[in-house]
């Protein structure tokens, strides 16, 4: 099964929020200096599912990312985890593309790769939390999609996909080639292997430009964006915490019970 995994480079979400700065003018979140960006954790789980499928069915995993030359690091991270190849999609015209521009760019690169059975994307990116690029790529390519995939089996040119729902799960059958967005619930992604790290270090990562993939200049960049940020602000803390003062944890528990009764919470 030949797979393409789309990954995004994001500011490290593990960095405490207080360390981020918000630039109200450019509507950007500025991470602290010296903290390298990481592979979007949701995409890392999509890669994990792809690696499990590769173990089960064989095939090749190609990782795609749109960004600057610096985005090579997320492709190398994916290769160190077990992906076979990767490409960075970078062009000055791609700057400030919205989700539709990004999906157009990724879809053009996917067409160029051509030979694939399955595309996997994370359910959303940890920066803007939209979760729309995968579904839009599927529409652009006119291929079937199942969102929030938890597990996938392959059988006879079709896939059986288990999708997480709010109250349980669904099982879909769909023809290939196809797209899935991957649920967070697939579990923790594997760590890079020693041989993977060596492989990634040696690998030359190609960079494809707008011309290389035949991207339509009218569909990418800031000019094509369908929406823009009118504001960006840090979330306010709405509550003020009253700490129960007590000599022992035992006493604190008792006092908490009394407090809950006093405020009518129970």
């Amino acid at each position: 099964m030949n797979m393409i995994v789309c990954v995004k480079q994001v500011p490290d979400p593990e960095v405490p929020p207080a360390k981020f700065r918000i630039d109200a003018k450019t509507k950007q979140v500025i991470p602290p200096e010296g903290i390298p960006p990481v592979i979007n954790p949701f995409d890392e789980r999509a890669l994990e599912l792809a690696l499990r499928l590769k173990n089960a069915y064989g095939g090749k995993i190609t990782v795609l990312t749109m960004g600057s030359a610096k985005s090579e690091s997320v492709v190398k991270r994916a290769i160190s985890m077990g992906a076979d190849d990767g490409v960075v999609l970078s062009d000055p015209s791609f700057q400030d593309s919205d989700s539709f521009g990004t999906a157009h760019i990724l879809a053009c690169a996917i067409r160029k790769i051509g030979d694939f059975d399955l595309i996997l994307c994370g359910r959303q990116a940890s920066d803007w939390d939209e979760g729309v690029v995968g579904p839009i790529i599927a529409e652009n390519l006119s291929i079937p999609i199942v969102t929030l995939a938890l597990a996938i089996e392959s059988a006879d040119k079709a896939l059986k996909v288990k999708r997480v729902t709010t109250d349980g799960y669904q099982v879909f059958s769909m023809p290939v080639p196809a797209m899935v967005t991957v649920s967070w619930d697939v579990g923790r992604p594997r760590l890079p292997s020693g041989s993977g790290v060596i492989m990634a270090a040696r690998k030359k990562i190609p960079v494809w430009s707008a011309a290389d993939i035949g991207a339509d200049a009218g569909q990418v960049g800031k000019g094509a964006a369908r929406k823009e940020a009118a504001g960006l602000s840090r979330r306010e803390w709405a509550r003020k915490c009253e700490i129960i003062q007590a000599e022992t944890p035992d006493e604190a528990g008792t006092k908490l019970a009394e407090k809950l009764r006093d405020v009518g919470a129970v």
């Binding site: 939390d129 099982v171 504001g231 979330r235 009253e242 700490i243 035992d250």
Partner: protein, 330 residues
């Protein structure tokens, strides 16, 4: 026909769902501000009763398209029906609930209609000067809130996070029109099929319905630690939920997760035990009426988010809490 604001309503067992009532509240407020009618699209069979309810809850024009119930439908089929309905009705704002179906349909519909899309919004408003629609949504795992606006003339699609508004109340005296909508959708619009839909039975109270939620995080330390949380929950007539860590560690099933990738709850009382207070978790519980935190770490983020806090080991705090609750007959 041109309809300004169109709500995609969800129907379960012949009734509009709670989240649909919530977006009826939001859509009605918006329609009152713009002075435009509020339209609602419902898909199903024999759902005239739900359509009348949608009128009584704020809809001016309710359209019924024939189709399978949402629980059984393939999203491709719903997408084709909604896209066809939008062609006929030409709405400029389309609102979905941020549900399984809503978040599946919204981006794909946006691609088809060349519309903009904003997911998981918590507030809709109009710009005071330009009257442009402003969509507020949490970003960066809930650490910040972005406000989005679309270029003039762009059709705008949004999904609304559950619990962002109170459900619309029914006013039987409200007048509105219920119209069947003939939508023809070819079989080729569905790629693949739904083999199975499984609703996992919840033991006890559903998290979303619980008035009291006791949430356990990584600080619980293992599956056995949850026994005392369950004891407290059952004493207070509530139920137990968890953060991401207990799911990732396999202590508790995914169905119990509260947060960005789990459930959104708003109980009267939320007691977070051994929960660090990561924004992606707080996203799922921040609208709780009273939020109580019990954590050993006085610097834990949860204390910035809570109304009441106890700094201490839950293993020592909860037994006396339970005992005092019992003696107070709470």
């Amino acid at each position: 026909m041109s309809e300004k604001i169109l709500i995609f309503g969800e129907v379960a067992e012949g009734k509009v769902t709670t989240v649909t009532k919530e977006i009826l509240t939001i859509g009605r407020e918006l329609a009152n501000q713009t002075g435009e009618p509020l339209s609602v699209l419902l898909i199903g069979e024999n759902i005239e009763g739900a359509a009348k309810d949608a009128v009584s809850m704020g809809g001016d024009n309710v359209y019924i398209a024939n189709g399978p119930s949402i629980a059984k439908a393939h999203p491709d089929l719903y997408l084709a029906i909604v896209a066809e309905a939008c062609k006929q009705l030409s709405p400029s704002i389309i609102l979905f609930s941020h549900t399984d179906m809503g978040r599946d349909l919204a981006p794909r519909l946006a691609a088809r209609l060349k519309a903009s899309v904003t997911m998981d919004c918590i507030k809709l408003s109009l710009d005071e000067n330009t009257k442009a629609l402003l969509l507020s949504k949490p970003v960066y795992g809930g650490n910040a809130v972005a406000v989005w606006t679309s270029k003039p003339g762009t059709t705008q699609i949004a999904t609304i996070r559950p619990r962002s508004a109170a459900p619309a109340e029914s006013d039987p005296s409200r007048q509105g029109k219920v119209t069947p909508l003939a939508v023809s959708v070819g079989p080729s619009s569905v790629k693949g099929e739904v083999l199975e839909t499984v609703v996992e039975e919840v033991q006890g109270i559903r998290l979303e319905d619980a008035k009291v939620v006791i949430a356990g995080g990584g600080g619980i330390g293992g599956v056995e630690g949850f026994a005392i949380l369950e004891e407290l929950a059952s004493l207070l007539g509530g139920t137990v939920g968890v953060t991401r860590v207990p799911c990732d560690e396999g202590w508790k099933p995914l169905s119990m997760e509260i947060g960005q990738t789990g459930r959104i709850v708003s109980p009267n009382l939320y007691i977070a035990v051994g929960v660090s207070g990561a924004p992606q978790h707080m996203t799922g519980c921040s609208s709780s009426k009273l939020l109580v935190a019990i954590n050993r770490d006085p610097d834990a983020n949860i204390f910035k988010e809570a109304d009441l806090g106890v700094v201490g080991d839950y293993k020592k705090v909860l037994p006396s809490l339970i005992e005092r609750c019992r003696s107070l007959k709470m």
